[in-house]
Subunit: 319 residues, 4 copies
């Protein structure tokens, strides 16, 4: 193997740049040449490339987002799109590809693998909804962003005797909500994995309210219900003044945390090693402290188990 | 004068605690006793007090919000409410009051002054919409919170070739929007003080887009239009992918900036000095580097001039 | 068991407050009463206590340090000191104790256990030098503090064509140095676990310098040599302008990271459960995702293995 | 005027990049071409340039340091050095120069002006020791960096009953020390402008100590004495455990604050306007809210007055 490619795809997250950097540095050490593709699979189809040498990845470790950019690419789901991509890869002399991204990106990587092209995936998604890895890149930074904002909002909540309903990201996963709920001492966490009994919640909040605890933080995963509706229900039931905040895209960005930089460094290095070892169609993952490689086919059809211990802990420490 | 009172009222902001601390420390130095009222004017009516000695204000400088809490108090607008408040003040032996808050709070302070009770106001409001002071307490911290979030969102915007419409606070004032727009290099700022030509904006964004600049940040003051509508207009006109983020109450809290701690320290000290000098019905304000005192009557009927130079600068540095 | 005690001892770290909070909340849920001892084992000897109810631990999760305070206590190493402590514990009706701290604190806990008093330890030390737990409380926050400072210093290094030698904490452990080295893309990491070949380092830096890379970050663990000497050696060998920064106590404090808040919440809860299960003389630890309990006797005589994989990764990604 | 140059010189600070950006954007709007010189006056002598178009200054606003780099350049103090620089400027067709930096940089700018070359200076120095401007670029960010670190250290100080002596930057100016002392509630501030009575300080600290306030923060400006000596004196006099922390270069970097971004934007724009208006040998400055231009000759021979009000306020709010 003489030359490999790297791309980032799907929703961006903090740590993608550190992952690219590690893959490139590792490859250079092994005397490989590295080509970056811009805007994910779209760059593969258009042949939109940039050379990645040591300088190109210098000074990017601590920056959020991805300097290779990312984009959705419906065209890549078609046989024609994939053929064009493969033609480009071969024309450019690229013999292996590192794909950094979430669920959809892994499906894209799988398609290339099935066409016989060597590809290794790296899980990067703030939702932490990818199976066969304890953590995906970007999760820890997103969590730290969330608690910074919630700590700020608690200042306001406690100054005003208010309940705040705060919506965090996570699509169908309650991971961000439950962990940030524990980490901020939220009174309640509402996640898609568990039925939320709003009546019971209101009873508890009222009880708490009557005891003189006149503020509350309720964290809602975006897939678990409309924050506005929950806030109105609480207000109507208790007469508690409520406010809604949707944290939004702020959660994705910013300088990556130590954990994400370290994970990115390890994943990027391992992905290149796997390509050199002749592996393809696998995703790098973290299992305890070890790096594992799992067939992407396995990954994309497995649902990540909900984090029951987190939910229990949230409940124990909450109201 | 032997004993004074302190209260915070209206929307909380970062720096209120530092203001209380400075007022208390100054009063103690001058051998005064200090009583705090909880939840603003409501505490005045209910006689909900706590003694403020040196210990009570230790370790609070760097905390957001207000440990004296704040609340709206419609009852205080009635003659009965005001009479009860005055009775409580006299019963407690309090001879002067420091009121920390925004427009509404100053009106409350004015009412007490008209009843002959000595009161000095301190402007605290993230909106920076109070006349006769260059800056109110909380503005600088709110601005720094905003740019931290916008910097994060720019990571995402540039990774994805997207336009972000970001709504910031400010009620009827575009100050937060225009300054944070300059400070983050936003492509456009939409404020209530100026008519926004959305058609012209779309033309500029399209021009920029065609030149290859594929991401944009548009900052909208909350009083200047619906962020969602603006985003949809841009999307329809250019085909640019757009996202909306409403920064929300996160803007209010967090550890105060140096500027706010310094301003709080100066305002708190000056307010107590003014009471001791026999002044009443005035608000402390910053004029250049000097502290001034303006009759609250003057303050509440004067509209703060829009920050034309900021808007011009935003335009010059933007698109 | 009706009543338990909690104390923090040794060097403070971020997450201690969250640990106390979790232990107290868990105990209250199980209908236990909780007494806090001030200043570690000194408070045990002096009977310096405060009652810990739900309110006492409200609003402390996100604060650095420990509100129970910590102190060294040579007296506790004497039989008399220990007897006084045990007398106080019994007199107060306390039937079990949670000790939060590092190596020395665990030795103290062991002494009480050997006297037949039920005690459970929780590892808290930024050095991450305690065996039988993957991570101690405070490590992740310290690391994030470090990289924030190093990112700042890199701005200066790259603006000035300078090499910076940055000393981080860690006593005899190179963990903080090696992980922060990876996470900041440092050119070199010097740790006590490995012999550092300064001549070789200078050769590499000169090579790099001649290639036009005119700045460098060298991270030194405090136990691995004098930063000043290293800087002078580099300067003399290459003629490179060098600067030294000792990060100091700034590393210990600040709001804890998500990881530390979560770990603190889990450790605090588990420690109380272990006491109720009749365990004593054990330390809670993290092994992968699971909580384990190891006899403290075992813990204090075991040296934590150096993090070879981290050192390798640092080398791979560095110069 | 068709073409101007820009350089940064002296100690780097946060906001330099934002200043370059503003100067470049303003110049481009006025149809000027802009050339950047690398490493300050050294780049002028070597002709080490890079073209500065709109793209070159995109995405740099929020980054610390200076991407044009800075360096000391003794050669520029010689007539030969200056002649070479002037030859290069003329050869490159550059008709005016913006110099961003501190005292030394302004002296360099003055030399060019005296040779008849149009030059405008912009004050950038964290020390805030440049006359004829209320604030220099970088001061506000440095202050916010300092208080972040001091807040962290206070966690440790209050957990351990310790006095911390913290040395901050400032060369011969006590501005950073006195303002950060007020903003962090330090018990004492030691600055070069005022004689410090260590005996008196020790008496006050002991008094405080006996009252049960068992921790203290003393902030020392780097030009005001050896932190180690001060700490030892305190320890010997009171028996108080003391620690020393030198904040170091961490203070210089990091993302600029709102204030610095705004000031940078205004200064950069004004400097270009002044060149176009035919002015030379002047420095842009902030006087209240207005921008002023002062002959550099005046600036470099005037000592900035010490900030007496700050020192008084620090004393009032301190011990």
């Amino acid at each position: 193997m003489k030359k490999i490619g790297v791309l980032t795809s799907g929703g961006d997250c903090s740590g993608m740049n550190a992952t690219i950097r590690s893959a490139v540095r590792t490859a250079l050490r092994m005397n490989l040449t590295v080509t970056g593709f811009r805007k994910g699979f779209a760059g593969l189809i258009k042949g939109d490339t940039l050379p990645l040498d040591s300088r190109a990845v210098s000074g990017i470790m601590h920056r959020g987002g991805t300097f290779l950019q990312s984009a959705r690419c419906p065209e890549f789901r078609t046989p024609e799109g994939q053929r064009t991509a493969l033609d480009n890869l071969r024309r450019l002399g690229i013999e292996g590809l590192v794909v950094i991204g979430g669920d959809g990106s892994l499906n894209g990587a799988l398609a290339l693998h099935r066409h016989g092209f060597p590809v290794v995936g790296i899980p990067a998604s703030i939702d932490n909804d990818i199976a066969f890895t304890d953590m995906a890149i970007g999760v820890d930074t997103a969590l730290n962003n969330i608690i910074y904002a919630v700590d700020c909002i608690k200042d306001t909540a406690s100054s005003h005797a208010r309940a705040f309903v705060i919506e965090v990201m996570g699509r169908n996963s309650g991971y961000l909500a439950s962990v940030s709920g524990i980490a901020t001492g939220a009174e309640c966490v509402i996640v898609p994995e568990t039925e939320c009994d709003l009546v019971q919640l209101c009873i508890q909040l009222r009880h708490r309210y009557q005891e003189g605890r006149d503020n509350a933080i309720i964290i809602v995963a975006e897939g678990a219900g409309e924050a506005r509706t929950i806030a109105d229900t609480i207000k109507d039931a208790i007469g508690f003044e409520t406010r809604v905040t949707v944290l939004g895209h702020y959660q994705r960005g910013g300088a990556p945390s130590v954990f994400d930089r370290l994970l990115a460094s390890r994943f990027g290095k391992r992905a290149v090693e796997l390509l050199l070892e002749g592996m393809s169609g696998v995703m790098v993952g973290l299992s305890c402290h070890n790096l594992i490689a799992t067939p992407i086919e396995e990954v994309v059809k497995t649902e990540k188990r909900p984090h029951e211990d987190m939910l229990q802990l949230a409940e124990m420490l909450g109201i």
